[in-house]
Structures are given as C-alpha cells and as structure tokens.
C-alpha cells in the first residue's frame, strides 16, 4: 500500500460516484444568494428523522424505567462496588491522564538528566510516574478528598516562581519549542497538575494518618491506588498506551556482546567493559550505554578533565552538554601538537557508534 494506491483509490471513489456533480457544484456556488443556515433542520426528511428519534428515545427511556437491569449491568456495578468496599472508597472519580504532563516528563528525562535514554526508555519510566500520580489523585478523589481551585492556584503560583528560577538555568525554551506548548499550557498542565496532586496526596495522608516516613504504609497506599486506578480506568490506560505506542513489557535489546572489535581502528583498553554489540545489520551499537559511558569516563578521564577545565562546576557528558564536548574533542583531534590527539580520535570514533545507536532518539550536530 503506497501513496499512489491511496490517492488512486480515493480518486476512483469520487469519480465513480460523480462527486461533486455539476449540479452539486452549481448549488455550492450559489453562495451569494444564500445566507448561513442551520444545517439539517431545513431538510424535511431529517425533520422526520428528528421526530422519529424523539419518539424512539422517549420509548427507550420509558422501557428502561420498566425493565430491570440485566445480569451484566448488575455485574459491572457490583464489580466497582466490591473494589470500592475493598479500599473503603465512596465513589469512582477518575482523574484523566495528562498528555502534556507525560510529554514534558519524557523530554525532561531525555534532555535534562545526565544520562542518555532512548525515547522508548524515557516513555516507559515516565508512564510509570504518570500512572502513579494519576492513580493517587483518583484514589484520593474517590475517597471524597476535595481541594479548592483557589488553593491549587496558590500552590501552582508558588511552583511557577520556582519554575522561573529553574527556567533561567535550564533550556525550557527548547522544551516548549520541541513539544509545541506555550508557557501558559505548561502552567496549566504541569504546574497546576502538580499542585493538585500534592494537595490531594497530603490531605489523603492526613485523613488516613499515614506518614511518608513510614515507607511500608506509604508504599502500600500507592500500590492500592494503582491497583484501584488500573481497575477503574483500564480503557483510558489502553487508549493512552495505544496513542504513544507504549509497551509496558519493555524489551531489552537482545544483541550479542562483542568478543573482539573489528571495525575500529585502535585497540580498546578494555573490550568487555566497553559493552558494544552488533545490531541486525552487523553494525556496532551501544547495548549497555551506562557501562560504556562509565568506561569512557574512567579511561579518558584526564582528557575530559582537561576539556572541562576552567568550568566552575563539573559538567558531565550529558544530553545537553554532548555537543560542546564533541566540538572540543574535534579541536583536539585536529591538533597534532596536543598530547590528547590520539585519545580524542578514539573517543570521537566511539561517539560515532553512539550517535549511530541513538540517532532515532536524539538530534546530533
């Protein structure tokens, strides 16, 4: 199935049915003689449909009043009433899954941390966090815990002040651009959402007399909340996972570790620690990135320290510093008088393999 097939098939449909016909075109082009009208209501046959529907719906409502609930209806109700009773809850009040919040979590994990994560890994972990928070909010609201909008607003404003300080040092503008969200949406979907979550959780803990320090009770509460939420919001969770193509059974890349490097031009100092593998095309790939980064930091520590020298704080090789390191390495690799030239060439070669492995997850320059 390709573009041409889809296009031809749709063309075929419109041609076969002569759409739009000349008559139809003339009717549409009579726009100057027409005024905006209420669609449908003008057509007598739809008017007839309207009357039929009103009568039918009235009959259905009447019949529903007379007929007793079916067995399956009873089952569904009792299913929720059992779980409500099990957790001593009043009602089912589901907090919707927050898509923007999730996207922000994924981006923050990929770009604002000192480790590299594939998008799949970042989504997987962020999905867990989203479920935990949403489950706790659902659980608290189903318990009858309430918070006023005004209270949430106040806390969200405090959070916004903290965020503005954070924004000054972190590249949030890149985040807004990448996710196509405005600061206002960030406030509403992230800061306000966080504030609501914190207030609901605090009140629930107070109501149940659970202290955060008591990790056993606290984690039990989370586990109950997640169990309850997954039960009552199963459909929402499935749709969300479908939308983001999230596989909760995240598969680990099954690649065979290398016994000896073949396509590289220098001797690795410790091959097993480098933890590279081959993909289906036989190309070298990072298969245990954290081990590889650890190896790099250990073996090339002196050179990296030299590159980083002069910076007030230690800067790790992280998503948002990667390109700076690479630029410095390129300069060293071109400088024949530098004692780090060979090491810089080696590391650039490893970085090349890294970029190849992660090119679907990060933008490299």
């Amino acid at each position: 199935m390709n573009k041409e097939q889809i296009k031809n098939s749709l063309d075929h449909f419109f041609e076969k049915n002569n759409l739009p016909s000349e008559k139809s075109m003339e009717r549409m082009l009579n726009y100057k003689k027409q005024k905006s009208k209420k669609t449908l209501a003008l057509y007598p046959k739809y008017l007839f449909g309207l009357i039929t529907t009103i009568v039918t719906v009235s009959c259905i409502i009447f019949m529903l009043g007379v007929i007793k609930p079916t067995e399956s209806t009873v089952n569904v109700t009792s299913k929720y009433s059992e779980i409500l009773e099990e957790f001593n809850l009043e009602k089912v009040q589901i907090e919707p899954l927050n898509y923007t919040f999730f996207n922000v979590l994924v981006y923050e994990m990929q770009y604002f941390q000192s480790a590299f994560w594939t998008k799949e890994e970042a989504q997987w972990h962020s999905f867990d966090s989203l479920i935990e928070q949403t489950a706790m909010m659902t659980f608290a609201q189903s318990k009858g815990i309430k918070v006023k909008d005004k209270e949430i607003e106040e806390l969200a404003k405090q959070k916004n002040a903290e965020f503005l300080q954070e924004k000054a040092v972190t590249k949030y503008d890149d985040l807004f651009k990448a996710l196509s969200i405005s600061e206002n949406e960030f406030y509403k979907d992230v800061l306000y959402f966080n504030a609501k979550y914190e207030l609901l959780e605090n009140r629930l803990l107070k109501e149940l007399r659970i202290k955060r320090e008591n990790s056993e009770e606290y984690s039990k509460l989370y586990s109950n909340a997640i169990h309850f939420y997954r039960e009552v919001a199963a459909d929402d969770i499935t749709s969300f996972k479908e939308d983001f193509q999230i596989d909760e059974q995240l598969s680990v890349k099954q690649l065979t570790p290398l016994k000896e490097p073949v396509e590289v031009s220098f001797d690795y100092k410790n091959i097993s620690a480098l933890a590279l593998g081959r993909n289906a095309n036989g190309e070298l790939e990072f298969i245990h990135p954290r081990d590889t980064w650890k190896y790099i930091l250990e073996v090339y520590a002196e050179m990296l320290y030299k590159i980083d020298e002069g910076n007030k704080n230690y800067i790790p090789i992280a998503p948002n510093t990667y390109n700076r390191y690479k630029t410095s390495l390129k300069k060293l690799a071109e400088n024949s008088s530098s004692k780090y030239q060979t090491e810089a060439i080696q590391l650039l070669e490893i970085l090349n393999i890294f970029e190849h492995s992660y090119n679907e997850d990060y933008q490299f320059e």
Partner: protein
C-alpha cells in the same frame, strides 16, 4: 483574482475534505457553501498569512468539526442507523456480490476514525506536508507523524483481514 474564480478553483478540494469528515453529500455541500459564504463576506479580513487555499481548507475543517459536534448530526447518524436497520433493501444478489468482492481501499480510509482519517487524507490525497498538516489541525509534527503511522498500520491491518476473509 475574482472571488468566483477562486471558489471555482478550490470547490472540488473543499467538497472532498468536507465529505471525508461527514461522509454525506448534502452535508458536505452545505459545509462548502457555508464556508464560501463566510469567506465571501470576510474577503477584506483575509490577512494573507497563509495562502488562500489553506485558509479555505482550514475553514472547511473547522466547519466540518462544528457539524460533527452538532446535535443535528448525531440525530442524523441515529436516524441513519435506524433506517438501515429497518430497510433491508439489498437483494440477495447484492449481498453475494458484496461478500465475494474485496472492499476498495477508499472504504477502509473512510472507515478509519476521524483523527487518523483526516491526516491520511490531507497527507496522501491532498499532498500536504507533516508540518502543514500540523499547522492546519493545530497539532505538533510528532502527533501528526504518530497518527499517520498508526493510520497506515490500521489500514494495513484492515486490508490483511479483508484478504484473509476473501481467501477463505
């Protein structure tokens, strides 16, 4: 360019877009006519930020969504369901023919849910780029890409199922 000429140039595309949403000829005609009336009345207000075709297409999409959300459209759908339930007008020959022939690809496209149908339609049929679709539908490029890919997967799945039934 004279507004009549503009209307004549784009009317087919607008109709096809409206039809892809409401799947009903009369409704699609109504939508296009409403759009043309509004565009005609607002000729002076067009700020030229996008090209005129895109401007009209965006209006058509918005108007189509209005119709889909309207109570009268839901009523129309309900009436249609009842009508098709009570009117078994298909002959035995029709049914045999229907069962023995593969469904056309366009039928599967029209049966996709709106969020997939609209991006597939704009991308494959009207040759809009991912970025342009994002601008038209107020979606990020990533969302458009995801929907395109999921829409394609769904189409492939439907075609495979169809093939399996046909081969039985």
């Amino acid at each position: 360019m004279d507004f009549d000429e503009v209307a004549r140039e784009y009317i087919k595309d607008l109709f096809k877009i409206a039809y892809s949403y409401v799947k009903n000829v009369q409704l699609a005609e109504d939508i296009v006519q409403d759009v043309l009336i509004k565009a005609f009345e607002r000729q002076e207000q067009f700020r030229g930020e996008s090209n005129y075709r895109t401007y009209l297409i965006r209006m058509t999409i918005n108007r189509s969504y209005d119709i889909l959300r309207s109570w009268s459209y839901r009523n129309y759908q309900l009436t249609n369901t009842f009508t098709s339930f009570f009117n078994h007008s298909k002959s035995t020959e029709d049914l045999v023919e229907e069962r023995s022939s593969n469904k056309e690809l366009y039928e599967h496209v029209f049966n996709l849910s709106i969020k997939y149908r609209e991006v597939i339609y704009l991308y494959y049929y009207l040759d809009y780029s991912v970025k342009e679709i994002g601008d038209l539908l107020d979606l990020s490029e990533n969302t458009v890409k995801t929907r395109l890919s999921r829409g394609r997967e769904k189409l492939k799945k439907l075609l495979k199922e169809e093939e399996a039934i046909f081969n039985e």
